[in-house]
């Protein structure tokens, strides 16, 4: 399938249709100690194969959100990640292959972001291995920008997915059962909420043009992670104000208040430089501090992105001792690494 774009889009690639496989090949070439690739299925596998007796964790989704999910495959996090085309959920065959590859006899947890496509394709994959491998699934749906889930496909899965993968990964590494690991994942999803905004659109390589247009002084508020437009458009404002737009709905949705401790995650959408992400973190810290909410752990950087979109999202996860312990547990992946 050739691109229908009028001109070659200004990105680093050879052929549009080879972006995903070549990126995965690059990931494996850069981190041979961490991952291998099932090239037939565009699946990133933890080097060394399944760990017998450990619950296998897989996730997957459209590409273009890197390092999610392939960059989170490795010790203490995922066992496999299925990479779809850019912003297109992978097909069931991929998740089936991933599920079979990581099964260590203790069952497999599917971590699915709540998008119709992802949910349906993962569901079909689970059916394909039904009776052979015990599969549980958790659907992340943390995006408070999606307000009325009666009139939508439900809240989208965004930033919290990274935290679920890390924390459930630690639980699995600790030898917990599939039921326990699933419960931990559900707990993290339940205690975490996110919201994001964009200063620019991104360009899907095969489409060749920006998904949406924004004026020089406009901000798209309540965006997801697929370059899709947000819930409303606002005039560009100070970062303090913009951080408030994101933090407020999260704090009220989670019912956070004085005395609570959170993991504060300021995520770049891909095209915003780190210097600005730390400025945004400073605003978030100031807002939370003003409400007596303590930041127990934090994460700042590009972890769940929309290609080169400029902007940021905020995710807050209400912490307790169990979650702190699992967050701090060693992890060794391409994108997240500590204690190992």
């Amino acid at each position: 399938m050739a691109t229908n774009a009028p001109t070659r889009v200004k990105k680093l690639f050879n052929k549009v249709e080879d972006i995903v496989p070549e990126s995965l090949a690059g990931l494996a070439a850069a981190h041979p100690d961490i991952v291998t690739i099932d090239a037939a299925n565009n699946v990133v596998l933890r080097a060394g194969g399944p760990t017998p007796g450990k619950v296998g964790l897989i996730s997957g989704g459209g590409s273009g959100h890197e390092p999610l999910h392939g960059g989170f495959v490795g010790f203490g996090m995922l066992d496999a990640a299925a990479a779809g085309n850019v912003f297109t959920s992978p097909v069931p065959d991929q998740m089936e292959a991933a599920t079979r590859a990581v099964d260590g006899g203790a069952g497999v947890l599917h971590i699915v972001k709540n998008y119709t496509g992802d949910v349906l394709n993962f569901q079909m994959a689970a059916e394909l291995v039904a009776g052979e491998i015990e599969v549980a699934s958790v659907v992340t749906n943390d995006d408070v920008a999606v307000q009325d889930s009666l009139y939508t496909a439900g809240r989208r899965g965004v930033g919290v997915t990274v935290l679920v993968e890390k924390i459930a990964g630690a639980a699995a590494e600790a030898g917990k059962s599939l039921a326990d690991v699933t419960a931990t994942a559900v707990k993290v999803n339940g205690q975490g909420r996110s919201m994001g905004l964009a200063l620019s659109s991104c360009i899907v390589p095969a489409a060749g043009t920006p998904t949406f247009e924004l004026g020089d002084d406009e901000v798209e508020v309540g965006i997801g992670i697929h370059g899709e437009p947000g819930r409303r458009r606002e005039k560009l404002a100070s970062v303090d104000e913009m951080a408030e737009w994101l933090v407020s709905p999260i704090v009220s949705d989670l019912g956070l208040g004085r005395g609570d401790t959170v993991l504060a995650f300021v995520n770049g959408m891909g095209g915003t430089p780190l210097i600005e992400l730390y400025v945004a973190f400073n605003s978030v810290a100031r807002i939370l501090g003003g409400q007596g909410i303590a930041i127990g752990r934090s994460l700042v950087g590009n972890y769940i992105t929309s290609l080169e979109m400029a902007g940021f999202s905020v995710t807050l996860l209400k912490l307790d001792e169990e979650l702190i312990r699992l967050w701090d547990a060693p992890v060794h992946t391409a994108a997240l690494r500590w204690g190992a």
Binding site: M1, N4, G62, G84, N85, V86, F87, T88, S89, P90, V91, P92, D93, Y115, T116, G117, L120, N121, Q123, M124, A145, V146, Q147, D148, Y151, T152, A153, R156, V204, A206, A207, T209, T211, F212, G224, H226, G227, E228, P229, R231, R232
Partner: protein, 224 residues
């Protein structure tokens, strides 16, 4: 029927490829800008699969061979499209295949009735998997009226060409009718009020598929 199906699928692949940028543009407005790309990939894979098919077993009935073909198409779409539309369209073809396979071998109903039965099964499959109904700004807004029009035409004694012509007109109207709708399913639902005023990409591709089917069947060269 099996030949008509194959002609339809090849023709649809061409039309989808031509229309891919337009479908993608619709999806950029209220989705994530990949619907044309997804459908193009899926139908290109269908053509490849058709090209690789062995000759049909002469012992098979036309209905059975058609069911096999539809099953292959469903599997191919599920394995290559991804996104929401892959499982939905894929399931539609699998359900249509199952509906054909379930027909009594002894006394098969008339062709127009078979076509409508398959169409109904397909559309019901989409509704069940996507947990959606009409008025939610999805492909169902093209497909449900198309199926209803086809059923009405069959009940009125129309031939296959007329049945599909009725389906085509209803699908086209249904797709157009998604424009003022507020999306409550799929990615467009995240836009809330802002989804209003844009035509749904899935309804548009659905109308296109029905249009090509009606065209192929109307074409004298292709016996149904």
């Amino acid at each position: 029927m099996q030949h008509a199906l194959e002609a339809w699928l090849r023709s649809a692949a061409t039309r989808i490829h031509e229309q891919a940028p337009a479908l993608t543009a619709l999806d950029q407005a209220i989705g994530d800008g990949d619907h044309g790309i997804n459908m193009d990939r899926g139908f290109a894979a269908i053509v490849t699969a058709l090209d690789g098919l062995p000759p049909v077993d002469p012992g098979k009935t036309d209905v059975a061979a058609s069911a096999d073909l539809l099953r292959l198409v469903g599997r191919t779409l599920i394995s290559t499209v991804g996104g929401a539309s892959g499982p939905l369209y894929g399931t539609a073809f699998l359900r249509a295949a199952a509906a054909l396979a379930a027909l009594p071998v002894e006394a098969p109903p008339s062709t127009p009735a078979v076509v409508v039965t398959a169409l109904e099964a397909a559309v019901a499959g989409i509704g069940a998997l996507g947990k959606a109904t009409t008025g939610e700004k999805t492909m169902l807004d093209a497909l449900v009226p198309a199926t209803e029009a086809a059923r009405a035409a069959v009940d009125g004694g129309a031939d296959t060409a007329a049945v599909l012509a009725a389906a085509r007109d209803a699908a086209a109207a249904g797709a157009a009718a998604t424009e003022p709708m507020l999306a409550t399913k799929g990615r467009a639902s995240y836009l809330g009020e802002r989804s209003i005023g844009h035509r749904d990409p899935g309804a548009t591709s659905s109308a296109l598929l029905v249009d090509v089917l009606a065209g192929v069947v109307a074409d004298a060269d292709v016996a149904v």
